[in-house]
Symmetry: C2
Subunit: 381 residues, 2 copies
DNA sequence: GGTCGTTTCTTCGGTTTCGAAGTATGGTGA
DNA sequence: TCACCATACTTCGAAACCGAAGAAACGACC
């Protein structure tokens, strides 16, 4: 609740939410129009801000058109990183929210944290080079990791997806390798942020469900990521759906992940993990595939019904690699959700629009939210 | 995010959080010490604030002791109301958080909303009279209702506990009967707020579970009640624990409420609803009772394990009439929760300290949070 | 009992922020 | 084409707020 002065509020807001007009800033920050005008004039004079071209897609309505302000490139860049079991992705943007570069590369599953960090650092440098920039230009970095992120230790909890990171102080290690401060966060949480930023920014409570190797969730409350007391919120995959079910890696029986998620789908179809998913996508007409997807959708939908009763989200966004199959999975999921929910009208379920980029772009959004723009000519002593 | 001036911030904070020193206010609100001093001096001069006696239980530490400020009685009173299936409770407090009066009365289950509203209005007037006050002195009222509170309609959703309220515009009806604006909220949510206010105010995310006739939950995030997109969050009782289980009033099978909650306990022990619970409390040694409580605790604990994986609360507080049995229920609950949770160390589970007063006091806390103190001598034109 | 350290509260000059009134810039409809 | 409306931005005097420095009120320690 620390009260910041108008200049800082405006700079942080522009970095976090992207270009906006003076009036929009005033309304969003609870400042007087006149205050914003005065401050903006100063920031423009020093070159921190510029007025965007007026040819933006202005909604056709009465009144003088608003002039968007955006942070210049001199205020810095933000970097988002998404590390998965077998891939790494990096995106670079300026503080006006323009994505300047994106890079991705495979990662050897099960390799050590050191190797993976080196790979990521290489990707970051390449992407920065693509954007004609260097690490010196970066003012904020965020990285997504598959597994519970323990805030107290700033490292990965027991992740079965990245075994090489056990005991590694993830945040510190990455920060040291890059020479920059790094925020770390669970990948499903970042996926939620990504999808929220590019589409459902107005919805009150958003639940993002990532159906990939495992099943994870991210929750956005009041425009902020909800991460729980220790930062490990979002573990949906180990909800027990059948106490007599198959044993799970977590030690319990009948977790959602034993019947749903890409891993379970491939196992039940007798496919290998590598490239198996592409085969599933190509065989959606196959009755065996359809039957498994139907069952998976129902299992997840059933759990989501109870979750919706408890949390009442405004929308459920489904992402992750398996979400790419679309209706064959989402249809049964919606049905099961509606059956389990008590509310008169069930929560809408939509497919994410970012696909496999949701997590990197979410990491980017996270980094932008925490970025403090560099002043072109700081007046501080 | 609307920025308010210091005077309003200070008044609202004192009403919401109770007496505090100048320095504490400055820190909590992000204001300069000098600003708070100036504003407070003005408010004291006009009689809105007074300095509390210094003989408070000051933590023994170095430095000049802080002087708590509190709102005078002239700034108004707050009223909290808790309406249950067969009871109504009312509490009156001043804006310095001193509870001035409490009243309770039985209500005929199943009676009409009109009758119940009349009963509540009578209780409010009696409690106000106890406090030597009248309705004119009240600046904020909040009421808890058992069932999902639909924000869009400001009324009770399909509540099986208060059938007489179906279709009644709860908020408007109550406001009209009292001649005062009234906030309405789910009772488990208010219980969460009550327990949080009197004990766990520092914990990050708090999950309150009310085990009464049914099973409900309230969640506090960032010091604020989380109510979901439509305001109906907290329905824990209809989480499916066994798809082949008993049919539930909600239309599904195997909801938590069919195996847990006071209703299920009494049914399984062959006891009547009225007064049956007292009998259970007196027969805790009876193996049949112990066995049922053990099973109920395990059922709730299992669900809470999954919920804790998803939400990672800092503490789980158990309240409601059935929580009064204590360890015979909480022990098995904790065990099942720990078994279902993936986190290294399980979330602590504690019994609420307010007992059956949790909901009224929560309503009071809710009312206080939304109270705007009356200025003794307002300077506005 | 006096000095020191610590925290709270006050004083005062300078800056930031606000509010009200006015100007700018586009649509809309006679 | 020209008043008229709606929204965005600017100007300027007044009020609110801040920061630094200092006074006040304790406990702790020699």
């Amino acid at each position: 609740m620390a009260r910041a002065d108008a200049t800082e509020l405006i700079l942080r807001r522009l970095a976090a939410a992207g270009p906006a007009s003076r009036t929009a800033l005033a309304r969003g920050l609870g400042l007087a129009d006149s205050t914003v005008s005065t401050v903006v004039a100063g920031l423009m004079a020093e070159g921190t801000l510029v007025q965007a071209d007026a040819d933006t897609e202005t909604a056709v309505r009465a009144g003088r058109p608003a002039l968007d302000l955006r942070l210049t490139r001199a205020t810095g860049l933000a970097v988002g990183i998404d590390l998965g079991k077998s891939h790494a992705r990096v995106a670079v943007a300026d503080l006006a929210h323009a994505v300047l570069a994106e890079r991705a590369a495979p990662v050897v599953p099960g390799s050590s944290a050191q190797e993976q960090i080196a790979r990521v650092v290489g990707l970051v440098d390449t992407a920065l080079a693509d954007a004609d920039a260097g690490r010196d230009d970066v003012v904020s970095v965020a990285m997504g990791l598959p597994g519970p992120v323990d805030r107290a230790r700033d490292s990965l909890g027991d992740s079965t997806v990245l075994p090489g990171w056990r005991g590694v102080p993830a945040r510190a290690a990455m920060a040291a390798a890059l020479g920059l401060d790094v925020h770390i966060e669970n990948d499903a949480n970042l996926g939620a942020l990504g999808e929220w930023t590019r589409g459902h920014g107005t919805t009150d409570a958003v639940l993002y469900v990532k159906i990939a190797t495992g099943v994870g969730a991210g929750l956005i409350v009041d425009g902020e990521l909800f991460t729980g007391a220790r930062g490990t919120a979002g573990e949906l995959g180990h909800t027990v759906v059948d106490p007599q079910g198959l044993p799970c890696t977590c030690g319990n029986r009948g977790c959602l992940e034993t019947v749903a998620g890409a891993g379970a789908v491939l196992r039940r179809l007798g496919l290998v993990e590598d490239g198996g998913l592409e085969e599933v996508l190509g065989r959606l007409e196959d009755p065996a595939v359809a039957s498994v997807l139907d069952e998976v959708g129902r299992a997840i939908g059933g759990v989501l019904g109870s979750v919706c009763n408890l949390l009442d989200p405004g929308v459920v966004i489904v992402g992750g690699t398996l979400a790419g199959v679309g209706e064959p999975l989402l249809g049964p999921l919606r049905e099961a959700l509606a059956a389990g929910a008590i509310a008169r009208d069930a929560v809408p379920v939509v497919e994410g629009v970012l696909g496999e980029r949701a997590e990197v772009l979410g990491a980017l959004a996270y980094a932008l939210r925490r970025a403090l723009p560099r002043r072109a000519a700081s007046t501080r002593p």
